[in-house]
């Protein structure tokens, strides 16, 4: 982290784009993200996979360049870039040397403003997504996540990027263009940038480069998870059984979110965490075990996950849930302080990376509609007490669970 205080700039550009910058003097690279507040949640139910298709074909040609020419132009300035398609956002991220920043912004804007979505690229995109669905069958970790999302988040937030075979078959080039036109609008756009920059100049630069996008468009969708309590097993010939457990948590903006964050750190962050200690190190039940939360924009979900050979699956499941309950019973000050230190220290060390800073800033805008100083977040974490954890667990009991298993055996008596 820089020794000087970070300086933020946050404004709404005349076009409606939300812009935030973190000035990091002395850095040698610049990172930025352009985020569209729309993703899988905006897909028609019969055309799942459409957002991913838009993301994949956006870079395959512009009014000025073919896809390869556009990629070559980014490479000509050494701009490392990628795109993503998520539940509620689509985006572009880029890291480059400061000297090439303006050129990279021009290229990014060209891609966002004037994509041509070539017919061949749209056709191949669908073919590749069908093949990715086959590949997903060979990735038990991602497959079990897909199955969990379907049950725990429901038909809208639980969508998977690749869609389904039958919905992919219905997607046309016209659908891709319609999705782009109706979602890539200034009011749905957030831009964050960090590095040795001049925020005023860059605000103008982005505004000019992205001028011409349709100013119309409806507000970004804001769905809530459609949570289902229950147990589902999916049979698959695997060496291991994958266990996923999920229940509702709190949104990022909830005042108890820092408490939830510390609670999950106690459970699954670091090798001294309870799950790692109890499930792996004391009993040798698993190699991988984890606890984490995920946040749609206005909600939150808690996840526990592990994979073990079938004979150990039931004991693993019981231990996972027992450790959640035990947190309310015997948490110590030392343990709490350790979990808090872990969160704060890692945000300090990782802050040395410009890309990490811009990612944090993007998350701030998405959830809080403003940059949030690291000190503010850390102060909230450091203020969490044992009583806060106990109260959180009492207020959010893990009674209603969504449990999904994937593997060779259905038997799990404890579930």
């Amino acid at each position: 982290m820089d020794s000087s205080p970070a300086r933020y700039d946050h404004r709404r550009l005349p076009s409606g784009i939300e812009f935030a910058a973190e000035l990091l003097p002395g850095r040698h690279i610049v990172s930025y993200e352009i985020r569209i507040l729309s993703g899988m949640v905006a897909e028609p139910a019969d055309k799942l996979g459409l957002a991913f298709q838009v993301e994949q074909t956006l870079s395959k040609g512009t009014a000025k360049r073919t896809g390869p020419e556009l990629s070559d132009a980014f490479d000509a300035i050494g701009a490392l870039h990628s795109t993503w398609a998520g539940r509620e956002t689509l985006g572009f991220r880029c890291t480059c040397m400061p000297d090439f920043l303006d050129q990279s912004i021009d290229l990014a804007a060209e891609m966002i403003r004037t994509p041509t979505f070539p017919e061949d690229s749209c056709r191949v995109g669908i073919e590749l997504a069908q093949q990715e669905l086959t590949a997903l069958e060979d990735d038990p970790g991602e497959l079990s996540r897909k199955l969990m999302l379907k049950h725990a988040y429901g038909p809208i937030l639980g969508r998977h990027a690749y869609g389904e075979r039958e919905t992919l078959a219905r997607i046309t080039r016209a659908d891709i263009i319609d999705f782009w036109k109706s979602n890539f609008t200034p009011r749905r756009m957030q831009i964050v940038i960090a590095g040795p920059i001049d925020p005023n100049r860059l605000a103008d630069k982005f505004e000019t480069a992205l001028a011409g996008l349709a100013a119309t468009g409806s507000p970004a969708p804001d769905p809530r998870p459609d949570f289902s309590t229950g147990r589902w097993h999916y049979h698959k010939e695997l060496e291991q059984q994958h266990i996923g457990i999920c229940w509702p948590g709190v949104p990022m903006t909830d005042k108890t979110h820092p408490v939830e964050r510390v609670m999950l750190s106690l459970l699954g962050d670091g090798m001294s965490s309870r799950l790692f200690t109890e499930v792996r190190e004391k009993q040798g039940l698993v190699y991988w075990v984890g606890a984490w939360h995920e946040h749609p924009r206005t909600s939150g979900m808690i996840h526990l996950g592990a994979s073990s050979t079938p004979a150990r699956c039931e004991q693993t499941y019981r231990t996972l849930l027992r450790e959640v309950d035990r947190l309310a019973e015997d948490l110590t000050e030392d343990e709490l302080n350790r979990a808090k230190t872990l969160i704060v220290a890692r945000s300090d060390t990782h802050g040395d990376m410009t890309r990490a800073r811009v990612s944090e800033l993007g998350s701030d805008l998405f959830y809080f509609n403003r940059p949030v100083r690291l000190e503010e977040k850390n102060a909230e974490v450091l203020a969490v007490t044992i009583k806060d954890i106990q109260k959180y667990l009492a207020d959010h009991p893990r009674k209603e669970l969504c449990v999904v298993t994937l593997g060779p055996e259905a038997a799990m008596a404890g579930a």
Binding site: G67, D72, D138, M271, D348, D352
Partner: protein, 412 residues
Amino acid sequence: MSSFFQQKLANGLTVVVETMPDVSSAAAGFLVRTGARDETSPLAGVSHFLEHMCFKGTPKRPWQQITIDFDNMGSTYNAFTSKEKTFYFGWVRKADFDKQVELLADMMRSVIPPGEFETEKKVILEEIAMSDDQIDRHLYDIAHEKVFAGHPLEWPVLGSTKTVSDLSRDQMHGYFSQRYNPANMILIAAGKVTPDEAVRVAERHCGSWPSAGPRPQRTAPKLNTDGVTVAQMDRFKQQAIAMIMPAPSATHEDDETAEALAAILGGQNSRFYWKIVQAGVAPVAAAYRIDYCDTGIMMLYGFCEPPNCERLAEAIRREIDLVVKDGVKDHELQRVKNRRRTALATEAEAPYHRLMQIAHDVDMVGRPRSVEERLAAVDAVSTDKIRDYVRRWPIDGPHYLVSVGPRKWPTN
């Protein structure tokens, strides 16, 4: 601007420091020059199992205290084992640098607690089971098993269910005593730390380690890069295929040329991407050069729908032929260099990433290399050098073909 320092302690432990004045954190790690290739067949997997056991107890700490002490610092820490090295590391706030080195150094004196041995064995067996569910691991492991047949580089890093199940604590202790020898280890530090400070800390925590003879030697493998192995596995839905040919070692003068060729063929914005992936033949087609201290291989591979095997193999061969016949273009090579330049600048701002790179450099080259030096090596690659490379390291000649998946392909 960062700077390097290197010094050897009296007991043979090498200390390498990169001072990075622009950052606020520091990373440290112990590189032990031991991995799967240093094992005997019955001990396959011992290096990796031992890495786990180093977290399980020291003369000063029971296992719980090791992880508690890491987490009390808020360290980003872990360890990994490869074919040639085992690396233990932690990334902390600058103020915790001394404590981080002390803890890592303590782990290097593991007592391999007998009471924890069988429990941790179960964890390793779970890791092997997890790995067995990954088609890419099968491809990688079978490729090594065949190409390096008869040499320890053929062992999988995890070992097998049998070798790990059969391994005793005494066997592991013998291996540990031989390999975790100061002459075979390097302490690396990167970040906001001075050479004086790093050496002082190293002397304090490692200076009393007894020296135990010279660094053990390795023997170079003979490669078998002419053959075919089909591993029919109905449990997988895709077919994974790889063509493997010889490539230079990490220390060879063609090192960066090989990397550039792999990037042009099968990296980002590469020929494979536009001609194979974007032609809808396969979702994954890539080139990957694997470098060891005295040998290397080039792996051209892809994952496809089983009926597409022929198309994928033909497409890879077509791109190989084009490179051999026409060479590569200046602008293709320049793109690789430009991307590398930004990637190196990005790496240079994180002590953690620098630590990983220094570990590679000191292990392979024998000394750390600055970002500028690595950039110069990349810049020295030319289209002529690539043309010359494919003559000396043929990619269109005999190769080993590995096919894994539900289809028995090729059939003859």
